[in-house]
């Protein structure tokens, strides 16, 4: 099994946390992993993306080739579209938050962004911010998104739960619980909308 994943968002939105959870789950399955991150200037409110590759076989490139990503996971709708050139036109899925992060003067009209998303054959778009609030933790929108992406990652759902328990182990049971709830809300949404 091999999954090539583009993680997208705006600097500071927590895409590295998503990568950490998937990465931990993959390593527990004794998979190979390569993950390319963005540090430095772009982290200051600019567009950021990360290449995450997990595979049972050895991985060559740190970068995913254009047109070959299995999945785009985005915590922001406009950012999800920025990397479409990476998505496999045949089988690639796009999972994105619909809550915009509007820190630029020329952000396109949201309806037009959504119309572009709706043109895609395989996509899941959900209001992760709203669902995160329902889970009692506005900061867990990234875990809602991960939950919605979990059916496409080739790993059992429990593996992500275990990973969250491990990654957030120092933050206490309350934080773990909220993140697990957020993950579940995202997963339930995906299950109903695939």
């Amino acid at each position: 099994m091999k999954k090539d994943i583009i993680l997208a968002g705006v600097g500071g939105q927590g895409i590295i946390s998503i990568a950490s959870v998937i990465g931990y789950a993959a390593l527990q399955e004794k998979m190979f992993l390569k993950q390319s991150e963005v540090h430095g200037m772009s982290q200051r409110g600019g567009d950021v993306m990360s290449n995450l590759r997990i595979s049972h076989d050895e991985i060559a490139s740190d970068l995913i080739p254009y047109g070959q990503a299995d999945l785009i996971i985005s915590v922001e709708p406009l950012e999800s579209l920025r990397y479409l050139e990476y998505l496999s036109p045949g089988h690639g899925w796009l999972v994105t938050n619909t809550t915009p992060f509007n820190n630029i003067p020329n952000y396109p009209e949201l309806e037009k962004v959504m119309a572009e998303l709706n043109k895609l054959p395989h996509h899941i778009a959900l209001d992760a911010d709203l669902l995160a609030k329902e889970a009692g933790s506005a900061r867990s929108a990234n875990m809602v998104i991960l939950g919605a992406a979990s059916p496409f990652l080739g790993l059992a759902y429990e593996k992500f739960e275990d990973a969250i328990r491990f990654i957030f182990r120092s933050k206490g049971d309350a934080v773990i619980g909220k993140n697990l709830d957020a993950l579940k809300l995202g997963r339930d949404f995906a299950d109903k909308n695939i």
């Binding site: 705006v10 600097g11 990465g23 390593l27 004794k30 998979m31 190979f32 992993l33 390569k34 993950q35 390319s36 991150e37 963005v38 540090h39 430095g40 200037m41 772009s42 982290q43 200051r44 409110g45 600019g46 567009d47 290449n51 076989d57 050895e58 991985i59 060559a60 490139s61 740190d62 970068l63 995913i64 080739p65 254009y66 047109g67 070959q68 990503a69 406009l78 950012e79 579209l81 920025r82 479409l84 050139e85 990476y86 998505l87 496999s88 036109p89 690639g92 820190n103 630029i104 003067p105 020329n106 952000y107 396109p108 037009k112 962004v113 572009e116 895609l120």
Partner: protein, 533 residues
């Protein structure tokens, strides 16, 4: 994978250095090299061993301190981003002539495609220029292994070794297995106490010795574990590939099995015999390297083989920018892949100053003052505040190299552009601004220097700032008149007052320094989270 550590390239280098028995690491923060030193700073074993790891004022002081540690017989590493090697070039080039005593590795992190930099210069040219061996890893495991190997090499030949990485290597994570740790060296003097005295008579002798060693470096490259010749059956093409580009090459063939002969380079000078073998048995040669076409240039004039050499010069590979698997697919004539088109509505989202950033209030005040003057008078520098060039501030007119704001403003003032303003951060000021300010004071240049003091090195993630709490006394010590050193609090509620002070100092026809001081919002946030955890 289970027994391996999942490390960034930067972290693999740092762990390699600790395991290979360094006694100190020296650096000034700079993307993509910062995490090497931070890893050592956060390491429990480094703390227990008392490995030196505090930040240096700039790359030159870092390089010199590392050379001093090597002089004293201990292993040292010095790390910088590629443009930092420009700052450290003087001691770096000369360290090849002095040679090392304790093992010395210089890490320079290049940034092809300029993800976070003002150019994409290729540090391998510096290694070639200085005549020192260069190591260039293709994955995180090699990065770790090369540090061990590099220290051995450095001590065997008494020579500094350059470890060249790129952003992709620095900031990509993969599995790394450790090898046996080594003890640190004991303090021991160089066997010849004149080794480091580069008086002309001694330097001439040392330079000849360096040239003599170069032949040994080539021989080492021939048998290096990092230079590998992979036999291939399809000899219509031979591929010479350096560092991380190997991965993009393998990505294009199922199971990574390339049908052509491939010479993978991880150590320089180039292994001449291996290169000759590739040139001898293949009809055409494709050269793939991230950065400048350095190998390509060398091969073109290296052996007049009469064979077609393809690479960045003939357009087979784009002349600029980072490599990727698709560029290689096209270069190899393989099927290229492409996803869906990006919709036309897409717009750029450039990085910007954080909400609550003190620089915002400083720029708002400065912009109001500058409204009364013609445009184009504000020289600036390298840091978060460079984002003041973008919407909505558009407050600055230059960003060239560390410290250039003050000296360029001075030169412009000398030319008659009065008033001229320099905007520089506190950390950049201590890196390379102090000497420029001294020039301005000595010439009594009509100049206002605004030192944006956010009490940290913000852009690279909040490292310590070298002159924290001492900026006024430094300026005063250089000779700036005390009444023209003014400190502001960049907050909205003091806007009118700040505008007034800036106006007064810009009107003064001598050197004035204005210091807007308020802690970086990111470090405040970090501190508060720690406190209330």
């Amino acid at each position: 994978m289970a027994n391996k550590l999942l490390l960034l390239g930067d972290e693999a280098i740092a762990l390699g250095a600790l395991d290979a028995g360094i006694s100190g690491i020296y650096a000034y923060p700079g993307t993509p090299s910062t995490e090497i030193t931070e890893f050592v700073q956060n390491s429990k074993s480094a703390r227990e061993r008392n490995v030196h790891c505090t930040w240096s004022s700039n790359e030159k002081t870092a390089m010199e301190a590392a050379l001093g540690m090597s002089y004293a017989g201990k292993r040292a590493m010095v790390c910088m981003k590629h443009v930092g090697l420009n700052v450290a070039a003087d001691p770096f080039i000369n360290s090849a002539i002095t040679g090392a005593n304790g093992g010395l590795i210089v890490v320079s992190a290049d940034d092809p495609s300029m993800h976070s930099s003002q150019n994409e210069q290729d540090s391998r040219f510096y290694g070639k220029f200085a005549l020192v061996p260069i190591l260039e890893p293709s994955n995180q495991q090699e990065a770790y292994d090369m540090v061990h190997y590099g220290f051995d090499f450095s001590e065997k030949y008494k020579i500094p070794v350059l470890l060249r990485i790129t952003t992709r290597m620095a900031h990509s994570r993969s599995g790394v297995a450790r090898i046996e740790c080594r003890e640190e060296n004991d303090l021991h003097m160089p066997s010849d106490l004149r080794q480091f005295v580069l008086l002309p008579a001694i330097a001439r002798k040392r330079y000849k010795e360096l040239l003599g060693s170069h032949q040994h470096f080539i021989e080492e490259s021939e048998i290096s574990p990092f230079n590998t010749y992979y036999e291939g059956t399809d000899k219509s093409l031979g591929i010479l590939v350096a560092g991380i580009a190997l991965n993009y090459l393998k990505e294009n063939y199922p199971g990574g099995k390339v049908p052509h002969p491939v010479l993978k380079i991880g150590q320089y000078p180039l292994p001449r015999k291996l290169v000759e073998k590739l040139l001898g048995e293949c009809e055409e040669i494709l050269i793939i390297e991230d950065g400048y076409p350095m190998i390509e240039e060398m091969i073109q004039g290296y052996i007049p083989c009469g064979k077609k050499i393809r690479g960045r010069f003939d357009g087979t590979i784009p002349r600029t920018g980072e490599l990727n698997p698709n560029i290689l697919a096209r270069a190899l004539g393989l099927t290229d892949t492409m996803g869906l088109p990006v919709p036309d509505l897409m717009v750029n989202r450039p990085p910007q100053l954080c909400a609550g950033c003190p620089h915002i209030d400083s720029y708002k005040a400065l912009n109001e003052v500058m409204e009364e003057l013609t445009k184009g008078r504000v020289f600036s520098d390298i840091g978060c505040y460079t984002l003041g060039a973008l919407w909505p501030y558009e407050a600055i007119n230059s960003c060239v190299d560390m410290g250039a704001s003050i000296t360029m403003a001075k030169g412009a003032a000398d030319a008659g552009l009065v008033p001229a303003i320099a905007v520089i951060g506190d950390s950049t000021f201590t890196h390379s601004g102090i000497t420029g300010l001294l020039d301005a004071v000595n010439d009594k240049s009509p100049l206002t220097v605004i030192i944006l003091d956010n009490e940290t090195t913000g852009m690279t993630g909040g490292q310590d700032s070298a002159a924290h709490g001492r900026l006024e006394s430094i300026c005063k010590g250089i000779g700036v008149e005390e009444e023209h050193i003014r400190v502001l609090k960049p907050l909205k509620k003091y806007h009118e007052e700040n505008v007034k002070i800036l106006k007064e100092e810009i009107a003064y026809l001598g050197v004035s320094v204005v210091i807007p001081r308020r802690e970086c919002i990111v470090t405040v946030d970090k501190r508060m989270r720690q406190k209330f955890k």
